[in-house]
């Protein structure tokens, strides 16, 4: 698994871990992130249980395991947070932030362990971690019906969950978008099918432009930085999602 520091500041740093070469082919590739502060670490979308050993091992390059004090789940999917029982086993006091809609759903991942799950209201909420002040940013219906990103006003990094996600071919090993036009081909299908609402996406794009992020970090695919942030938002502004190409009521009846 590769890892890289995305931001290093006086109060905290952002780390990305991904492109796990040991991942089984049938397991979707994911990016894991860590916000490391001297007073605790937060993991946005800590990942699925399958990749837990590699994530944990890679994380130890940047912080101690018992420094992990919070998990943030953008939504409830297994690739997002099915590693919850492992984190609870090693860090029993860890807090898990997730949309109020999914608190009782992700509790199914806890495997009998007491999970300190904190509901995020629909409008979002501040999430303090050490001296960093992160903000849960609503992204409802941009993938799941209760969906959040995580914005850091200091580094201006936006962790966007599945917004901006791409299904990369194995030869694309860079953690960052290198050729935006080519990258569109990797993310179009994902957005059209995995995102149900074009108005919700437009609203998200408007909200995110106001935040003026320096990087948009999705859970799958590559990170947008520099001018690619604007290109990505422009692309989203004209994208129609919630499409079922080749499958409609007529073909269903046939």
């Amino acid at each position: 698994m590769r890892s890289e520091v995305l931001y290093e500041g006086p109060t905290h740093r952002w780390v990305v871990m991904g492109r796990d070469p040991k991942k089984r082919d049938e397991v979707i590739d994911t990016n894991e992130y860590a916000v490391v502060t001297p007073n605790g670490t937060l993991l946005p979308d800590p990942g699925g249980i399958e990749i837990f050993p590699r994530v944990l091992s890679e994380l130890t390059r940047y912080c101690a395991v018992d420094d992990v004090v919070a998990l943030f789940a953008s939504h409830q999917d297994p690739d997002i947070v099915s590693s919850l029982p492992m984190w609870l086993d090693l860090c029993p006091n860890v807090k898990t932030y997730v949309s109020w809609m999914w608190t009782s759903f992700i509790a199914h991942f806890a495997m009998g362990r007491a999970a300190n799950i904190i509901e995020i209201p629909d409008e979002g909420m501040p999430i303090p971690i050490g001296n960093a002040r992160l903000q849960a940013v609503p992204a409802h219906y941009c993938h799941a019906s209760g969906n959040f990103g995580l914005f850091d006003p200091t580094s201006r990094i936006l962790f966007s969950g599945d917004v901006g996600a791409a299904l990369l071919p194995s030869h694309e090993t860079s953690l960052f978008v290198e050729n935006f036009d080519q990258h569109v081909g990797y993310m179009r299908g994902f957005h059209q099918r995995w995102m149900p609402s074009t108005p919700a996406l437009r609203s998200w794009s408007k909200r995110v432009r106001a935040l003026n992020p320096s990087m948009i970090c999705p859970q799958h695919g590559a990170i947008f930085r520099g001018e690619d942030v604007g290109r990505f938002l422009d692309w989203l502004d004209v994208l129609e999602v919630g499409r079922l190409d080749g499958f409609d009521a007529q073909s269903e009846a046939a």
Binding site: I49, L56, T60, Y62, A64, V65, D66, D67, M111, G112
Partner: protein
């Protein structure tokens, strides 16, 4: 998951399958016991019609048969409850094995980074964990890695102990189920014998013996199935005992 841990998980899961088999074999006995009671009562009525001298032996036999369901039902219910307990222990055990094996894998990932070779270890006993810890303490780990090893190490040992405890719990319950099945077999064997006696009596004194014949056949088949399950359970219980012994000694589990 390492091959040894995968093997451990599969063996524990096999116990789950046997419990389902036992439950499926034992539950139809309740229906059979109900039929046994109806037929026995029928026999009592026939015996009464035949009069004291001719129907005397049939009356005693059918009365005896009529009492057997009262013994069968509570045993089947106990088997059902104990199988559920085993299934729960097995299910919890599978969870803990999963957690344990992922934590061991995380330790191995860190070990590999520092060229600590652990490929020949099976990690189904504390012996291998102790050896890995010793090897890693000699490696040039960073402060955060050392803390991680210590944190993970503090969890893997109790998790392994829980695996052993839950496997032992399942093993004890399986032994109890085996004893109950033996009691049940003994009762059903008696039922088979009595039903054969009833059949003989009915054939001697009454033309309409078909219902008793078919009943006798069903009892015989059920006894056969139960005996087969009992043997299978015996094999699994022995396997479980070997697995436990191997876990405690930390040696290779014999496949045979």
């Amino acid at each position: 998951m390492t091959a040894a841990l995968l093997d451990l998980n599969q063996r524990v899961n096999r116990i789950f399958g046997v419990c389902v088999d036992v439950q499926n074999s034992a539950r139809p006995l309740l229906e059979l016991a109900f039929q046994m009671r109806l037929l026995a009562r029928n026999g009592v009525v026939h015996a009464a019609k035949l009069g004291r001298e001719e129907g005397g032996s049939l009356s005693v036999l059918t009365q005896f048969l009529s009492d057997l369901p009262n013994e069968i039902q509570p045993i089947v219910e106990q088997i059902d409850a104990k199988c559920r307990d085993v299934a729960e222990a097995v299910s919890r055990c599978t969870h803990v094995i999963r957690v344990y094996s992922l934590e061991v894998q995380a330790l191995l990932e860190i070990a590999k980074r520092h060229d600590v070779a652990a490929i020949d270890r099976r990690f189904v006993s504390t012996k291998d964990l102790v050896a890995l810890s010793a090897d890693m303490s000699r490696a040039s780990l960073t402060v955060t890695e050392r803390r991680a090893v210590s944190t993970i190490g503090a969890r893997v040992r109790p998790n392994l102990a829980e695996v052993v405890h839950l496997t032992q719990e399942a093993g004890t319950k399986i032994d109890e189920v085996r004893e109950l099945l033996m009691d049940l077999c003994s009762i059903v064997r008696t039922g088979r014998y009595i039903s054969q006696c009833v059949r003989v009596e009915v054939a001697r004194i009454h033309d309409d013996a078909d219902r008793f014949v078919s009943f006798g056949d069903r009892v015989a088949t059920t006894v056969d199935v139960l005996e087969e399950r009992l043997q299978k359970l015996g094999r699994i219980a022995s396997d479980g005992q070997r697995l436990l012994a191997a876990l405690e000694r930390g040696v290779e589990v014999d496949e045979k």
